[in-house]
């Protein structure tokens, strides 16, 4: 509709189009502006450092989820995988030492992700069903391992790893950004990334073009499981305990963050930049609302409303691009 405007406005037009396509940054900017005006504590180095750390756990889950979603799939089991890796990383320390335990936690995530991927790729079941089963079952594994009680780390020097900071950026936040940037590079500059988009965009065409669909799906699910384990390890370092209910319904927050960013559930469209935007918007909203001392229910209701709003906006914008 705006294509008929003169050449002199093409430049501003491009900027507007970019902002519309990446509307999450509008949301984020707006949220930051509002909370900065509403609370003097919001725009302090300390608080921003907090926001980054708080957002990073969902963020790391979201990195894996983005890959899976671009493939046109979904992974509901990330919260449960996170809990299992947290439990293993803390529970195994006494028997096999700190770093082997951490490695075992990571491997458990990779293995479960691989398992989800294999079942999804070879059975033809929708990943929603496969990972819904996994969400229920892996939580069972966590309870079987921990026996309903929270595990406590024996050597508390383990929790000091979470206190490593690069300026105001915690090791957790740093891990999130590094992983997001790395997988953005994978998405745009490797064969695996391009073929992931191709599969999500049109699976039959991808199949006809000779792309090994099963392989790419299995790889992405494995990465997603590993990311969940990474978040779990970082959580275990931060808390020093492993609760059997850790990460419960985090898969929902993760999906919310990714979709808020603008990555489509239908596959073939998305990026880590969008996901960073979605994760940060979610973190800013939660942090800002808490700074303003709003009761818990406001946060839940705002989150729901923002999500539907984002969906409506996306609907309007995508129908515009389709019209072109």
């Amino acid at each position: 509709m705006t294509m008929n405007t003169g050449a002199q406005s093409r430049h501003t037009n491009g900027a507007v189009t970019w902002l519309f396509r990446n509307h999450i940054w509008l949301f984020l900017g707006l949220a930051i502006a509002i909370f900065s005006l509403a609370s003097p504590y919001f725009l302090t180095v300390n608080n921003i450092s907090n926001v980054l750390t708080q957002g990073a756990f969902i963020g790391i889950l979201a990195v894996g989820m983005t890959l899976v979603m671009i493939d046109g799939e979904i992974d509901l089991s990330v919260g449960a995988i996170l809990a299992l890796s947290t439990a293993l990383a803390i529970g195994l320390q006494e028997q096999i030492g700190v770093w082997p335990a951490v490695l075992a936690g990571l491997l458990s995530g990779a293995a479960l992700g691989f398992f989800n991927g294999v079942i999804t790729a070879f059975s033809g079941m929708h990943s929603f069903i496969v990972t819904l089963g996994a969400l229920i079952g892996i939580r069972g594994l966590v309870f079987i391992y921990t026996g309903e009680d929270a595990l406590m780390v024996q050597d508390f020097s383990y929790t000091e790893y979470a206190e490593i900071y690069l300026g105001p950026v915690s090791v957790t936040a740093l891990t999130f950004f590094v992983l997001a940037l790395f997988f953005q590079w994978v998405l745009t500059s490797t064969r695996h990334g391009r073929e992931t988009f191709a599969i999500g965009d049109n699976i039959e065409a991808a199949h006809d073009a000779g792309i090994n669909i099963k392989r790419h799906k299995i790889i992405n699910f494995s990465i997603c499981g590993t990311m969940a384990a990474v978040a779990g390890i970082l959580l275990s370092m931060r808390l020093g305990t492993a609760e059997p209910n850790a990460g419960k319904i985090w898969e929902l927050w993760t999906i919310i963050a990714v979709v808020l960013g603008g990555t489509r559930l239908t596959g073939g469209f998305g990026s880590m930049w969008k996901t960073i935007g979605g994760v940060m918007t979610l973190a800013v909203l939660r942090n800002g609302l808490r700074l303003l001392n709003t009761p818990n229910y406001v946060e839940l209701m705002v989150m729901g409303a923002v999500l539907i709003l984002a969906l409506l906006l996306d609907r309007v914008l995508s129908s515009q691009t389709e019209a072109r």
Binding site: G124, F128, G140, L265, L300, M303
Partner: protein, 318 residues
């Protein structure tokens, strides 16, 4: 040809066969398992999830999802219990069912008419309704002080003809829903929309309207479930319905209703939900801690759905 018949035959009864084998295996280890008392106990325990699942089946057959039923159950139960104390049981029930219909209509409006993604919409509602519950209750639990005397106890705590009332309600609503789904125009439209939405629109079936009503049925069933739950517990915490959406979906999936829409039935859902209940009950009777059932559920879902799918298509792409 012969093997196809065998597979499709297995597909239709495989789930039942597996279920019967499981029942037999558990009854060998526990005499109490297949007693009438225990069976009624299991049915009573699954009546709340089952009630919701009957309604959600309509949504799933249209090819959509409803993740909001857990939060909705919480909100409706809190509303019902609180209003019971203020305006009496009858008005409270009317109010709760009206609220359920309104919430379902809202879901249906967004997913059916505005064609927004069902997963995200109902996920947003999951969060929103949790907030609404806390806003309504102010964070405190509600309970019914005259639990022994109110006639409201009928729905969750009494028996008729030796059968618990929740079981009668569950099976009764199930029978009505099965009738609606298989014997009415609306029921056929639900299958048509899930089977091929474009084709159904071209043949004059409004997919928007059908989806809209499917969500209302899902919410209405959740309202019925809230009546049973509220009457059973005679109170409600702000988290009382948390996680129900997962059990409901697990039961529907286990029954073999396809998430892609177009196929499935109420009796399959009832069977799936009952299987979950008997697995849970059987494992507990065998002395396993309660969380072992989750692991078993995972394995059973994957095996059951895989067999189901293998029977449905010869070649599987991706």
């Amino acid at each position: 040809m012969k093997s196809t018949n065998l597979i499709s035959g297995l597909k239709k009864s495989g789930l039942l066969v597996a279920f019967v084998v499981f029942l037999g295996a558990v009854s060998l280890t526990s005499d109490a398992f297949l007693s009438v008392g225990n069976i009624l106990d299991v049915l009573r325990q699954v009546s709340i999830t089952g009630m919701i699942a009957i309604g959600t089946t309509f949504v799933v057959i249209t090819g959509r999802l409803d993740l909001s039923v857990g939060s909705m159950l919480t909100l409706l139960t809190v509303l019902l219990v609180d209003q019971h104390n203020q305006v009496g049981p009858l008005l409270a029930i009317v109010l709760t069912l009206a609220a359920a219909i309104a919430l379902g209509a809202f879901n249906g409006l967004l997913v059916g008419y505005l064609k927004l993604n069902a997963l995200i919409v109902t996920l947003a509602m999951l969060s929103f309704l949790q907030g609404l519950t806390l806003l309504y209750s102010g964070g405190s639990n509600v309970n019914i002080p005259n639990a022994q005397t109110t006639w409201f106890r009928f729905f969750g705590r009494s028996d008729m003809f030796g059968i618990p009332v929740p079981v009668l309600l569950f099976l009764g609503v199930g029978a009505i829903a099965a009738f609606v789904l298989t014997r009415t125009v609306f029921g056929r439209q639900v299958y048509a929309v899930g089977g091929n939405e474009t084709a159904s629109n071209f043949s004059g079936v409004s997919s928007a309207r059908t989806v809209f009503w499917a969500y209302i049925l899902s919410a209405l069933a959740t309202g019925f479930a809230a009546i049973i739950l509220g009457s059973r517990v005679m109170g409600a915490q702000n988290t009382i319905g948390q996680g129900y959406e997962l059990t409901v979906l697990a039961g529907i999936i286990l029954g073999g209703t396809s998430m892609l829409g177009g196929s499935g039935s109420v009796w399959r859902t009832v069977l799936g939900i009952a299987m979950l209940g008997f697995i849970q009950n059987g494992l507990l009777l065998m002395g396993f801690p309660y969380y072992v059932q989750w692991l078993v559920t995972w394995v059973v879902i994957i095996i059951a759905v895989w067999i189901d799918l293998a029977g449905k298509r010869g070649r599987v792409l991706a």
